[in-house]
């Protein structure tokens, strides 16, 4: 997917991707010549079609997680299907504030271990000792994670 600034006859550059959590997708592009920005706003159906292919508009910001489409898209998965949540909790890594733990607990168990792993990796890479809801918000925006 490419965007063209017709007035400048220049290809616009990808700038930002947002997943507001309502099933939609917003992607901003900016013209490097005139600075004009446009946003692509995809409805839930269009967003779902892209997700079904296991690809990410704007490119990947985190490496693929094991069974990420299955864990992210299956609605009837059992909470204790994977052992990674417990193992991760025991592993050394950034601390989780009680508020962040509470927020994480609201994530369905089927996908919780994978989500926890993504936040922990983000914190580790950025030298963050404690994961708080604010850190989760920052990571979510930076990584383009929906409903995590």
């Amino acid at each position: 997917m490419k965007f063209l600034c017709i007035e400048c006859d220049r290809q616009m550059a990808f700038e930002e991707r947002r997943l507001p959590g309502d099933g939609t997708l917003a992607v901003a592009f900016r013209c490097p010549a005139c600075g004009r920005a446009v946003a692509l706003l995809a409805n839930p159906f269009e967003t779902q079609l892209v997700s079904s292919l296991g690809v990410v508009i704007g490119g990947r910001t985190v490496p693929p997680q094991p069974l990420e489409t299955v864990r992210g898209m299956v609605a009837t998965g059992k909470d204790d299907a994977f052992a990674d949540a417990a193992e991760r909790a025991a592993a050394p890594g950034p601390r989780w504030s009680p508020e962040a733990e509470e927020r994480l607990a609201r994530v369905p168990g089927f996908v919780r271990g994978m989500v926890k792993r993504i936040y922990a990796d983000y914190a580790r890479e950025h030298g963050i000792a404690e994961i708080t809801p604010a850190v989760m918000d920052t990571a979510r925006a930076a990584l383009g994670l929906e409903e995590m």
């Binding site: 997917m1 006859d9 839930p44 159906f45 990947r60």
Partner: protein, 264 residues
């Protein structure tokens, strides 16, 4: 505003999304994960209820008993039974690094199945906006098949059986995902109705490049009349690998394993 403007291929700067590259990376991940798997054998039939999963599990166990490292990927996402047949249904799956470790089942056969992931008694359902599930269900199931191949630590296996649902759609997806078309083990029951349905599946498998290993005729010796196994074997020039009664003795499985194990 200009009256004309350039189109996609006129723009030469990089497309940051790189969707074709992402798809290519998915395929490469499958190939890398299966590098240690000597043979991928699709177990298929054009007909439901002929015992594909039963044959896949029995053949896998018999091969494992003969010393071959064997795995089963249950690709029947709507009706998963392989994990139960192999005694690995209740196992919690462990994530290690970039892969899920398949659960060890009976006789050491490793298995991954949607049956290990779904809540008891609940059907496979996907998240997403309601009202058009049929549009993306196929794509999501294909993604699940790709992830079961690419994201499971299959390790070094002599044989990986892929237990397919009835029909040919999942086989087509499998061929597109794998680096090379799989070998095909076809299961039928004796009846003419099964023969006709399985014939279509065999033709589809051959047209898509699958190597036909042979036919297993299941549920022989009971009330089901016919000779579908012999007829299909003759028509396609492939061996009738086994005639399995309703309760196959161990020797029948061992004979099937010997014939499968000797295949190239």
């Amino acid at each position: 505003m200009p009256g004309s403007f350039r189109t996609y291929h006129d723009l030469t700067d990089a497309d940051r999304s790189g969707l074709p590259e992402q798809i290519g990376a998915q395929r490469a991940r499958v190939a890398a994960r299966l590098a240690g798997v000597r043979r991928v054998v699709a177990v298929m039939s054009g007909k439901g209820g002929v015992g594909k999963s039963f044959v896949a599990a029995g053949a896998a166990r018999a091969l494992a008993q003969s010393g071959r490292a064997t795995g089963v990927l249950d690709a029947d996402f709507a009706g998963p039974t392989a994990a139960r047949l192999l005694g690995a249904r209740g196992a919690r799956l462990r994530v290690a690094g970039d892969a899920v470790v398949p659960a060890p089942g009976a006789d050491g056969v490793v298995v991954i199945s949607m049956g290990q992931l779904l809540e008891d008694g609940r059907p496979l359902a996907f998240r997403g906006p309601g009202g058009a599930d049929h549009v993306w269900r196929e794509a999501l199931e294909a993604a699940a098949l790709r992830e079961f191949l690419a994201d499971v630590a299959w390790g070094a296996l002599d044989v990986l059986f892929v237990d397919l649902p009835p029909g040919i759609a999942r086989f087509t997806e499998l061929v597109e995902i794998l680096p090379a078309p799989p070998q095909v083990l076809t299961v039928t029951i004796p009846t003419p109705e099964a023969r006709d349905a399985v014939r279509r599946a065999l033709r589809a498998a051959r047209e898509r490049g699958g190597t036909l290993l042979g036919v297993v005729e299941n549920m022989v010796g009971g009330p089901l009349a016919g000779s579908a196994g012999d007829e299909l074997a003759a028509e396609f020039g492939i061996p009738l690998l086994a005639r399995l009664p309703f309760h196959p003795p161990a020797a029948a499985w061992q004979a099937l394993a010997a014939r499968l194990g000797g295949a190239p």
